[in-house]
Symmetry: C2
Subunit: 243 residues, 2 copies
């Protein structure tokens, strides 16, 4: 079952301690950007900071723990499990994204299962804390809205790019997404395993493998180091359009 095999790790998640939002060096990227430092002085419930290994299940669809999560670093996949046992990856989120926001809208449970794709560094924020901060600082509401709008844009792109066209076009689009949103400073990105790529595009694993292997042979996609890859963006854009 792919990365889910790491599920046993989730109890081993390394607790990094209480978060110090007022001293957070990446706060401008996060949900609490623009809140004043003083906003965090009298929180009723603590914000904790965790490091999860790849494959960890952050939460499961249908369950209800009163936390949302803000991703500091790493990739998280939101998975929908169909009744026939197959999985579909609905969204892939990275640095600065917040997940579990459906709880703020009154949903009693998470809508998806959230799984760490690589090592994930995140803050776990009690819903009650968000509500407290929202009431004291209405600006936070807008940032939640911005998160939702961003995710809506991603979902729309998913429908258009990964849900349409021939298999080769979809895989090309997927690689472009990885390159654009998940590459490191050097432009290299982690190539997901074939099962995850299949679950994102709605294509059979073998077909994905064939196409990826073809891209590698054509040098459109090539290993940079370890599991990091680089790609020929122009060639992939051409493929994603015409095939």
């Amino acid at each position: 079952m792919g990365n889910e095999s790491g599920q046993s790790f989730c109890t081993n998640a390394e607790w990094m301690g209480r978060a110090h939002c007022d001293k957070c060096h990446i706060r401008q990227l996060m949900l609490f950007s623009e809140l004043p430092d003083t906003a965090f002085e009298h929180l009723l419930a603590p914000i904790d900071h965790f490091l999860y290994p790849p494959g960890s299940v952050l939460y499961e669809a249908g369950t209800h723990k009163p936390f949302i999560y803000s991703i500091r670093r790493g990739m998280v996949k939101l998975v929908h499990a169909a009744q026939d046992g197959s999985n579909r990856i609905v969204r892939l989120l990275g640095n600065g994204s917040a997940i579990g926001l459906e709880l703020l809208d009154g949903s009693k449970s998470y809508h998806h299962t959230a799984i760490a794709v690589n090592q994930v560094d995140l803050c776990k924020i009690p819903v009650s804390t968000v509500r407290q901060l929202e009431s004291e600082h209405p600006a936070l509401c807008k940032h939640v809205g911005k998160q939702l709008q961003d995710q809506l844009n991603i979902a729309d792109q998913w429908i258009v790019a990964l849900g349409t066209g021939a298999a080769r076009q979809r895989v090309a689009q997927l690689v472009l997404v990885l390159e654009e949103f998940f590459s490191e400073d050097n432009g290299a990105f982690i190539l997901l395993n074939r099962e995850d790529m299949a679950a994102m595009t709605g294509i059979a694993v073998e077909t994905v493998s064939r196409i990826v292997a073809e891209f590698k042979r054509q040098k459109i996609l090539y290993r940079f180091k370890d599991n990091f890859y680089m790609c020929n963006v122009a060639a992939l854009q051409e493929l994603s359009r015409y095939g």
Copy 2:
């Protein structure tokens, strides 16, 4: 080009006059639910009320008029036009939904083209008015967030239900969506034309037609009156799962 042929109507849109939000009988369904009546006394820019015939283009992707829209009654499709000329319908929205919200998040232009599917009754709200109301009534921010969360849920459902599985499963899911979200009091719903159904599911028009015709022969789907249809929900749910 299907309903887009009605594009010429858009200049004929019937202006129904200034909206009277304080007297609106369906405000509890709309964006401005829970705002006090007094909120609308000193608006800088007016809210107008329109009636659009089927096929009207409400706005086009990439353009930027400073308005969002709140749908009082009717169905609107959000369309993404691919560079190869094909269209993909990204979302179908109905009574109580707001569209064009991306403008509130700072987007310079609409992300999709919005087209009336049937007769659409809506309010056209200047962005400046929303901002004014938001600053005076922070609660409005939450309602915008709720709209976004709703649309995100719809987009996720779209990915899972209409972007996955065999053609027959997708068409079954689509009919169920129409039945669930767009049926009248009597349980009958408008069956979209085949081209729109194809653009929603990513299937060829002929294949959709074959499957719909098959459903009709099996009496799983039958005409109620005019273009209104009814369906056997249980049978379609079975089909949507196993095929």
